[in-house]
Symmetry: none
Subunit: 206 residues, 4 copies
Amino acid sequence: MASRENPAISLRKEPQQTRSRHLVDAVLEAAVRILNDEGSHAFTMARVAEKAGVSVGSLYQYFPNKQAVLFRLQTEEWQQTGTLIETALSDRSKRPDERLRVMIRLFFRSECEEAPFRRALDEALPLYRHTPEGEAQHRRSKKIMTDFIAEALPHASPVTRAFAADFVKTTITALGVRVSERPRKDIDAFAAATAEMLNGWLKRQG
Amino acid sequence: MASRENPAISLRKEPQQTRSRHLVDAVLEAAVRILNDEGSHAFTMARVAEKAGVSVGSLYQYFPNKQAVLFRLQTEEWQQTGTLIETALSDRSKRPDERLRVMIRLFFRSECEEAPFRRALDEALPLYRHTPEGEAQHRRSKKIMTDFIAEALPHASPVTRAFAADFVKTTITALGVRVSERPRKDIDAFAAATAEMLNGWLKRQG
Amino acid sequence: MASRENPAISLRKEPQQTRSRHLVDAVLEAAVRILNDEGSHAFTMARVAEKAGVSVGSLYQYFPNKQAVLFRLQTEEWQQTGTLIETALSDRSKRPDERLRVMIRLFFRSECEEAPFRRALDEALPLYRHTPEGEAQHRRSKKIMTDFIAEALPHASPVTRAFAADFVKTTITALGVRVSERPRKDIDAFAAATAEMLNGWLKRQG
Amino acid sequence: MASRENPAISLRKEPQQTRSRHLVDAVLEAAVRILNDEGSHAFTMARVAEKAGVSVGSLYQYFPNKQAVLFRLQTEEWQQTGTLIETALSDRSKRPDERLRVMIRLFFRSECEEAPFRRALDEALPLYRHTPEGEAQHRRSKKIMTDFIAEALPHASPVTRAFAADFVKTTITALGVRVSERPRKDIDAFAAATAEMLNGWLKRQG
DNA sequence: TATGAATGAGAGTTCATTCAT
DNA sequence: CATGAATGAACTCTCATTCAT
């Protein structure tokens, strides 16, 4: 739906046919593998095409430029992570502090898996920060957190809640990136500590 | 002194003479200004040389390659920030929680000033993460934090202390980066919240 | 009929069926519109096919290559202009100088309308200057002019006549191109001046 | 002097040193030879660099882009031709009609020598038609012709003179291009005819 | 030692043309 | 016959690095 508004970054054509979808998938998979295995400096269109087993021309048939490939990777990751967070935080069968704990653990683990290409993605991020898709994702995650805070701090003022939502999200995101660059074994301990720390802080805001 | 172990990144020659030091300073200053004013994509050796008022040849006389310039920038910044943190955290005239509060505020502000070239530096970071200078800096900041935690958590076990030091440092660092990418006006509020959050968490570890 | 001699440029198959003719027409029309509206750099086979509402494959079924499309455009234009000139110059109800005047005015106006794709056509012109169709057109226009000169200079020697025909044609053609690149409002004045100049010169040759 | 106003087309650096001038000369000479011998489609930066015996990088050190090379060629040619015309037309020791005759002969011959790369130059012309250098050249040639017409038509009104200058210049230029694409042997005859034709026309304007 | 001209590998991107479906 | 996805050679331009002067 955004192809009109942002042709410079969205897909060139929607791959509805099977073959096309395979190509796009192959490209994205190749892109991930290159980012993981060879680093962001090896992420060239020629290398992506080669690794995906397609020609450069085909690559450009579906992605208008290099940023678009990274953009697609980012978008897919945003959607996955967004869903993950939403599911964890809106599970009304648990108390808010427990939900936050679960969410943080899942999020940190998810971040770990994406760590290798995080950097490359971040380099390209300024380019699509202000795209419709980027804005949509931003609004979505903001709403999820705002709703959660409303439940966690039912008696707090709107200003307090707004700040808390912002702060909690920022803290989790920031630590997620950091934790993903560390040894895997530390992750769950860090997740637990982060949850404990944030839950403690939240309690004092309430 | 590290030139043997890592000739690819350390200075080609120690500039002991006045002229050489001037040159190195001019280069670093130019590098900072380019990163700040023109962005990392403008950070080319030719541009740095030009802005520093030296020839490309001279640039290469003191920096073996482009990464080395970024490396020097990083190192200098590490030292400044390290000193800042050390000063704030070891001020025995204040209670630990107050020291942490001050240190976080100073650190966040410092991070803000360096935000523009943070990204460029980070891109080059993997290249010198495991250099002697990098390790030295790492040990230094670790010790500062460990000493601080020893004072903040006098009764905790060594394992708890070690984890706390790691966690507190990671949290502050991670949030520092994030905060530096946000509007300036939020900074002190975030610093206060971060300090409050960490102090609360530390209290519960004690 | 020319497909043997110059298979690289003539039509791949004579489109005798209605459908085929429609396709060829659609392609040529699209080509003209692209050249006019988007400029010669937008004249790609993909764009032509798209604008013509046919597939690239179909395009290549009737035109062996890109030059062939331009060739057809040129040919069609030659025929139109040739007819125009012939009609104007062979109108025995008027004196030769009046015929020339009329012909030049019509020709300049016609050139103006084709100005936009003149350049693109000219780029491809060397490729088909020596094709049968090109030669045929050349002979045709030569004959028209020769006949006209025979009437305008009834007492001149064959050599004089031949040179005059060549010179008059060259002058008109050359000025036509130039005039078509100028503001429209100048055209008729230039046409009048050109006619006056050539009629004066012709009179002196007689 | 135009390097500030139009950095996209003028020389990147003024080649004051001997070596640099040699390089620029070698490039321009290579460019001419390619245009002459291999046609405009062979005019690629790589080919130019190769033929000039320099690297692509060096080429781009002196010419910011491909157009700039063509621009330089055009400029040099403009200057030569401009001087030629000026000299011929302002020679007060001859009558105007004789001067025009001489000038046209010289101009046609000169055009012949440049014919091969005329096309390539013309293709790039739109790109620098409105550059300072282009405008300057245009003003210069306009003035030369205006001055000449003032002498040739001393009693004519300013409007008549202005039109005459425009028309004469257009006719000569247009025919020059056309003539340069024809067999060499025709040139002088065409020059004589053109001069005769224009002198006749001018006499009638006076 | 200082200079900056020269290098050239390599990047992103386009587009005429083919051919499996 | 029609399609349009796939191809890949070719193009312009950049920039880290070297080396003759």
